[in-house]
């Protein structure tokens, strides 16, 4: 194979006045692909050795802060060693030593190495470093190393080698901004303090030590995992399987947990009645039965779903699937221009946006951090989960099926999908409008598939359940108590004298402090179909989204302490033009779902953005854009549902 297919000879002369950097690497190391990315020249790439035999020179550009810097790249023929055996290798040695007639030696070297075979490439790197020119290393196939169970810490590798190292994914163009920045200024490269040893034993000790420092692990030939991954990481089938897995995930949550949920619900109902009967003081009885048991209990009802979800997540993670899922999603996310570390932040936000936003600290550019923080709260966090379960439960009947699938499960899958897609779009918009920046390769471990260990699954299940209970016992409890007082004060003892118990409760509620706040704000939300009671729930949700449920539980149990969910379905507007109409009708529930998906209700998140960006500007922007999205989205969703349902 010769390289007669290369472009015209005009390309061979280096651009005058620029530094000349030679690419050195063994055949198949991905050298030509790196060269093409850098120069934009379409030299042939392929897997067969010897494509680059003639001389190929191109110009690369780096757009730095001080303008554009050009550099000349010379793509040398592939070689395994600088101690030549073949004629091609002789050419490389001659060029590098300045022994080729008419061609001066390049000023600096960039050694291109396939990271999956790093260990056996070390001698070529050592030989290049021994030439005494500024040298750097480009590691290719970084993504393949990860997918095949290998690992390398590039920064540690660079520190151990004493020269700059960049990891790239040639096919996806990842890592090339960092590479261009380096190539633009070879004079600034750090140099190894001592050339690598020549003595064989010392040389082996050096390789062992450097690879160890870089925590290098060659791809594991775990045949079973590799076979499974060929399917599960396949760009098309893998993605389809990922969606199927997530779809079934929500199916299981809804179909399996429903009977358990009924039991828990009955338990709390019984507890509430007991408290109401046994506590003599009616004020305290009301607080305990409605405020605490009715409020917090309404949230705790969802514990079967939540435990089940964490159980499934723990199983998926322990089996090794979550890492693959992350890898697949990262592939999609690369389209939006987001880098891998942003993805980690997004993933954390599925639990809670607070640690998610804190995870953005790993990103070097403050502008990247901000864009990710702006989008992360849109991911479906676990506080939204019980709210969605409640609303979806009101929206569609538990027994409703689409084919063999639970409609509720489909709806929940849709909500998670909506959150994920919206977060990515938001990040994409912020990335495009607010910032530029480079795309870094995403380094991720791919553990081999294995059977889940019951212990670690149980541990993680316990961890998350405890966290949920803790939340219910602290912030949700506290907010519920505060809301109970706001909903039951002033007592209006004189006014309710002689009324029936239910009428009295309704009268107090309707004239409570909370009601006056809710009624004041209600006109803003009227186009969405929300009355003042929902508005009070939304205000409570600012402490924690789940408080929305506890507030609904309190308000609608105030009239009838029996099953609050049942009551929500029959609750009607108490005043205004809609009086008598059902409050939780389909368009309003849909609007509420959309509102919860987009609104930045959670004040912990706002405080975290404030702390991480050290200004009120970004939390203000985030809150504003999300409330606008939430309102407009909910309004459109309501109108659309109205049109569809007639």
């Amino acid at each position: 194979m010769t390289a007669a297919c290369h472009g015209p000879d005009a390309s061979v002369e280096p651009t005058p006045g620029t530094t000349r950097i030679a690419l050195v690497g063994s055949p198949n190391a991905g050298k030509t692909s790196v060269y093409n990315q850098l120069t934009g020249m379409r030299a042939r790439t392929g897997n067969y050795p010897g494509v680059t035999v003639t001389r190929t020179v191109g110009t690369g550009r780096y757009k730095g802060p001080d303008g554009i810097v050009e550099f000349t790249i010379e793509d040398l023929p592939g070689t395994y060693s600088l101690h030549p055996i073949s004629p091609d290798e002789q050419i490389v040695a001659d060029v590098l030593n300045g022994e080729m007639t008419g061609i001066t030696a390049p000023e600096s070297l960039s050694v291109v190495v396939d990271v999956t075979v790093l260990e056996r490439s070390m001698s070529l790197i050592a030989q290049a470093m021994s030439l005494g020119k500024p040298t750097m290393i480009v590691l290719t196939m970084i993504d393949e190393l990860a997918t095949r169970g290998g690992h390398v810490d590039i920064d540690a590798f660079a520190a151990a080698m004493g020269v700059p190292v960049v990891g790239v994914v040639g096919s996806r163009g990842k890592g090339f901004d960092a590479l261009r920045r380096l190539l633009a200024a070879p004079q600034d490269w750090p140099r190894a303090p001592i050339a690598p040893p020549r003595d064989d034993d010392e040389f082996n000790a050096w390789i062992t030590s450097v690879l160890d420092a870089a925590r290098y692990r060659a791809p594991e030939p775990d045949a079973r995992s590799a076979r499974i991954d060929r399917l599960l990481l396949h760009p098309i089938f893998g993605t389809l399987i990922f969606f199927a897995v997530m779809f079934l995930f929500f199916q299981v949550i809804f179909t399996v947990a429903a009977p358990l949920q009924d039991l828990v619900e009955q338990g709390f109902g019984w507890l509430g009645t007991q408290a109401a009967e046994l506590i003599p003081n009616s004020m305290i009885a009301g607080l305990v039965a409605n405020g605490i048991i009715g409020g917090v209990g309404a949230v705790l009802v969802f514990i079967p779903q939540i435990m089940l979800m964490f159980l499934l997540l723990a199983l998926l993670e322990d089996v090794g699937y979550m890492s693959r899922a992350a890898f697949l999603v990262d592939r999609v996310m690369a389209l939006t221009g987001l880098e891998g570390r942003a993805f980690v932040a997004m993933l954390s936000s599925m639990a809670c946006a607070v640690p998610g936003i804190m995870a953005t600290r790993t990103m070097p550019s403050s502008r990247d951090r901000i864009a990710t923080s702006m989008a992360a709260p849109l991911m479906t966090c676990s506080a939204r989960l019980p709210v969605y379960i409640l609303l979806i439960g009101l929206l569609v009947d538990n027994s409703s099926r689409v084919g063999p699938f639970s409609t509720q499960g489909i709806a929940m899958f849709g909500m998670y999908l909506l959150g994920g897609v919206s977060a990515m779009l938001a990040a994409g918009v912020f990335k495009a409008r607010v910032l530029g920046g480079e795309l870094l390769p995403f380094y991720m471990e791919m553990p081999p598939y294995r059977f889940p260990s019951p212990r670690s699954v149980a541990l993680s299940l316990w961890d998350s359940t405890r966290a949920f209970l803790q939340r219910a016992g602290t912030i949700i409890l506290a907010t519920s108590i505060v809301l109970w007082f706001l909903l039951n004060l002033p007592t209006r003892t004189a006014e309710i004298a002689g009324m029936s118990e239910a009428d009295a409760a309704a009268h107090v509620l309707d004239n409570s402090i909370a009601a006056s706040i809710g009624k004041f704000l209600a006109p803003i939300f009227e186009p969405l179909g929300f009355d003042w009671r929902i508005v009070v729930g939304l205000i409570g949700a600012m402490a924690a989204r789940e408080v929305f449920i506890s507030t609904m539980g309190q308000i609608f149990a105030a009239v009838d302490p029996e099953n609050p969910t049942l009551l929500l379905t029959s609750a009607a507007w108490t005043s205004g033009p809609h009086q008598g109409e059902l409050l939780f009708n389909t368009p309003t529930i849909v609007a509420l779902l959309i509102f919860f998906a987009y609104a930045l209700l959670c004040m912990s998140t706002v405080a975290t953005i404030r702390r991480e960006t050290n200004s009120w500007r970004w939390p203000a922007i985030a809150w504003t854009y999300m409330i606008v999205l939430a309102w407009v989205g909910a309004f459109l969703a309501r109108q659309l549902t109205l049109a569809l349902t007639g």
């Binding site: 001592i194 030590s209 925590r215 723990a314 640690p355 790993t362 676990s382 998350s464």
Partner: protein, 186 residues
């Protein structure tokens, strides 16, 4: 831990530091409290002074010399000395704890810090290392596992006498209803 510390071959490489006169010789060998070869290099005028740390020997160049010439000499001498070392040199409890703390501060803490978390050594007792993890790593479904493994791998590679690594404080979940990082304990 699957990969034991029992590497029969010596590992050694130099790493530059911010001080051009100082080179760090990194090795996975468990270093004793003293190495006679270092005194000899100082006596011969190759080095100004030296220091033994956790998994590394720090050497300062003698005046008027350069690493180009002195480096290979030091490397060959250290390599020969490390080859002769017993497998697990005895270290006093205090020195061991100090070295492990140094190692964790150097190798693991920056990783934790980059995720908004922190890690410090609580105690070293009878082969059990107890570390305290703080900060933001909880809630990240990937973070904890990685950090646990990193501590275990880093420490046992240099100090085979440590057989168990424990976290002092179970992670708190203040805000989060976390999708947890699984705590792996083998």
């Amino acid at each position: 831990m699957s990969s034991g510390p029992a590497t029969t071959t010596v590992s050694l490489h130099p790493q530059a530091s911010t001080d051009p006169q100082m080179l760090r010789w990194v090795t996975t060998a468990t270093l004793p409290a003293e190495l006679p070869v270092l005194d000899r290099l100082v006596a011969d005028g190759v080095l100004a002074r030296s220091e033994i740390g956790a998994g590394e020997i720090r050497t300062w160049l003698a005046d008027g010399s350069s690493w180009d010439t002195a480096g290979p000499v030091v490397r060959t001498a250290l390599f020969a000395a490390l080859r002769q070392l017993p497998h697990t040199p005895a270290l006093s409890g205090e020195l061991l704890a100090e070295r492990i703390a140094e190692l964790i501060a150097r190798e693991v803490a920056p990783v934790a810090a980059s995720h908004g978390g922190g890690i410090t050594v609580e105690s070293v007792r009878e082969g059990v290392l107890t570390v305290a993890m703080t900060g933001a790593c909880h809630g990240c479904s990937l973070g904890h596992k990685t950090l646990d493994d990193l501590v275990r791998e880093t420490v046992t590679a240099h100090f085979p006498q440590i057989h168990t690594v424990r976290a002092a404080n179970p992670r708190r979940s203040r805000f989060t209803l976390g999708i947890p990082g699984l705590k792996k304990s083998k």
